[in-house]
Amino acid sequence: MRGYAGKFLEIDLSSRNIKDTKFSDEVLRDYIGGRGLATKILWDRLGRKWETVDPLGPENILLVLTGPFTGYFPGTKVCVSGKSPQSNGVIGSTVAGEFGVDLKCAGYDGLIITGNAEKPCYIFTCDSQVEIKDASPIWGKKARETLRFLVRKSIAEIKDIRPSHGEVKEPSVLYIGPAGENKTRVAAVVAKYAHGAGYGGYGGVMGAKNLKAIVAKGFGPVPDPYDKEKVIDLAQRFSERNFKMERFRRWGTGGGGYFFGAETSSEPVRNWQSEWHNKESYRKEEFDKYWVKKYWGDFGCPTTCLKLAVLKTGRFRGAICDNPDYELEAYLGTNLGIFTPEENIYLSYVSNELGLCGIQGGAVLGLAAELYEKGILTKKDLDGIELEWANVEAFAALAEKVAFRKGIGDILAEGVYRAAIKLGEIKGANLLKYAVHEKGVAIGAHGVRSGEDFISQNIAYACSVQGGDHTSSASLPIDQGGELSSIMADSAVFCIFAAFGIEDNEKISFYEAITGWKLTKKEWYKEKALRILHLQRALLLLGGPDAKWRPKLDDDNPPRFWEPLPSGPYKGKTLDRKKFEEARLEYFEAAGWNENGVPKAETLRKLGLEDVEAKLKDVALIK
């Protein structure tokens, strides 16, 4: 087995039991790591009782997994997963940073965290020395303070472990803010200040486990690949292609804040009421004033597309953020009617400090603002907050309420889908039409109504096993890119922004050189990726306990996506119901699902998933 450290660290927070866990070569060959392996572990351990497992209860399992690409592929991420409190299925949620490398250098391919701690704690691992430590000094603390405390304390502790080492380089840290602690469904698992695994809501899962952070330090090498020369050669060739991505390196995704509004009409504006704007104040050049002039990235990254922004003066002095970043520009900007970089950077900073996911948290602020605009939510409901569009201070105040579940924040903390239901019950109205989500996951800031975005297909979200996750959108034909390719990125675990221009075949060559295991493109698309997709689909349909998705009926776009675009060059454009239904059926068939999108018994058998077939029969999804 090459490319793997060879063992996983399993920690039960209830019993404080710590042990090593291994997986067979067969399991690793089929499920790779990251998202694929997470799905397999969750199915094996929780599948039979999936509908009853509360994602925010002690039964859920939190997974933090690397993949065989971690460390050697240029551009490093780690995959966070578990039963998602947003979709009630499994989402592979990745976050960049050095964490995955530190973990592998410590000798582990990943962490499997079960149970829940009695008191706030964090996990500290320095090579094989693993401890569950008291987090009470930082419980309730925001990002900066949490990180400062953990970095300082951990460096001192590593110095104790290796007293003659010399200067100790800080460990890697994954942590949650108050939004996670308070078990909101819109909380991210955070690295550094502004890197988050947001989709899925795993910040809340950590909070439910009373787990504030995971600290990892590894002194060993990244495990050797099978064919090192080939790996290094390929990595260098991939890097050189990314070095040439001049515009993307210069602006990152941050050129999008203007572009996706003005050019492609696919940017959420005022809770998706429109997807077009041409605000000059939001041009990418306007963000330059706040940019710390350097390219910013994580371990091994050739692209370094991140941009650090700092507000040095003015009323928001002190804000630091990785802005401009497109999703934040949209969800904490245009979608709230905010069109100035300074306010956008400030609100992004507030959201990061609270440990909110910029997308999920931003989406729920947008929902609340539209309900306020329509007079459904009143100033009184909002404890005196006047939630006018563009009122950045009001949004900051409401974000705080969400993260701490104060007042109306307690309902909004449930995310757009659940909040719309709860508020609808209170107000006696159907408010779901204002909730732009797919399977409980607020949709990434790439609308499909204009058809001009790079995510353009009408089934992109409706058919995705990760719901609104724009990094895992479905597309036809099923065996070219789309979700099955996202499964590769999230399972081998690498960053898609460091993989520009790298063909599937090259990724597969890299996989073979790392692991020494053979793989063909056909095997990937027709078998391995499909198997993972089926497991994810099955668990998504099992759902529960609080939400269950009806096959086909809920495999639909949110109501708002059926409204015609009200403005801009694509005014009047919307999705065509008939075309959508045809595409959906085609996708279901291509995946091997029946006309309702339920995996067929014969496909499951072909993929060796007889146990899934039995389970789906048990719950009468398969007749």
């Binding site: 010399g166 200067e167 380089k169 002194f219 090192k228 910013w296 990235g297 091994g300």
Partner: protein, 185 residues
């Protein structure tokens, strides 16, 4: 050339790695290049250049400054350290090193560190005059590490600072005085 003649400076063939801290992307491709060259593996902790990130966004590449008076060499009780006549780098004789740590104590920048597995010290050897870290940093056009001729009259020792000292300096520069205080202290 002309300039150095005019101001009366002389130079030898030795090189020096100039660091523009404010530019560092944190890509750590220098750590990768260094450890691949010297260890044949990606091994951040064994790399002779290390990126410190006490504050995210303030990444500090830390490696030997080749002080003109080499306090580390002076301090070593076993004679494990010597100055490479060609490059000016500090060479470590790993067989002689007892990992006593006196060179770390003596270094104004606390640069040397123990090899994570072997019982000896790690110090940049300038890759025999062709630094791999600089190449990695240059090919990605981050312009943080640059190779310049070593000037006889420059005091490199005054540039040798600890990761914490450098973090303070660079944080002030890129975040502003007040914010730097808030994030570090």
């Amino acid at each position: 050339m002309l300039c150095s003649k005019l101001c009366g400076m002389s130079r030898d063939e030795r090189v020096w790695i100039k660091r523009n801290y404010g530019n560092c992307s944190g890509c750590r491709r220098c750590e990768i290049a260094c450890s691949l060259y010297h260890e044949g593996k990606i091994w951040p902790e064994a790399s002779k250049i290390r990126i410190f990130m006490i504050v995210p966004g303030v990444e500090i590449p830390h490696l030997c400054f080749q002080c003109e008076d080499y306090p580390c060499v002076e301090a070593c009780p076993t004679g494990a350290l010597s100055v490479n006549g060609k490059t000016g780098a500090v060479n470590v004789d790993v067989a002689k090193c007892t990992a006593c740590g006196q060179c770390i104590e003596a270094c104004p920048g606390n640069v040397p560190h123990l090899h994570p597995e072997g019982n000896y010290i790690v110090i940049c050897d300038l890759c025999d005059g062709k630094p791999k870290c600089v190449k990695a940093c240059q090919e990605g056009r981050w312009n943080t590490l640059m190779l310049i001729p070593r000037e006889k009259e420059v005091s490199y020792r005054t540039l040798a600072k600890t990761p914490v000292e450098l973090t303070h300096e660079v944080a002030r520069q890129i975040l502003g005085e007040e914010t730097a205080k808030e994030v570090i202290d």
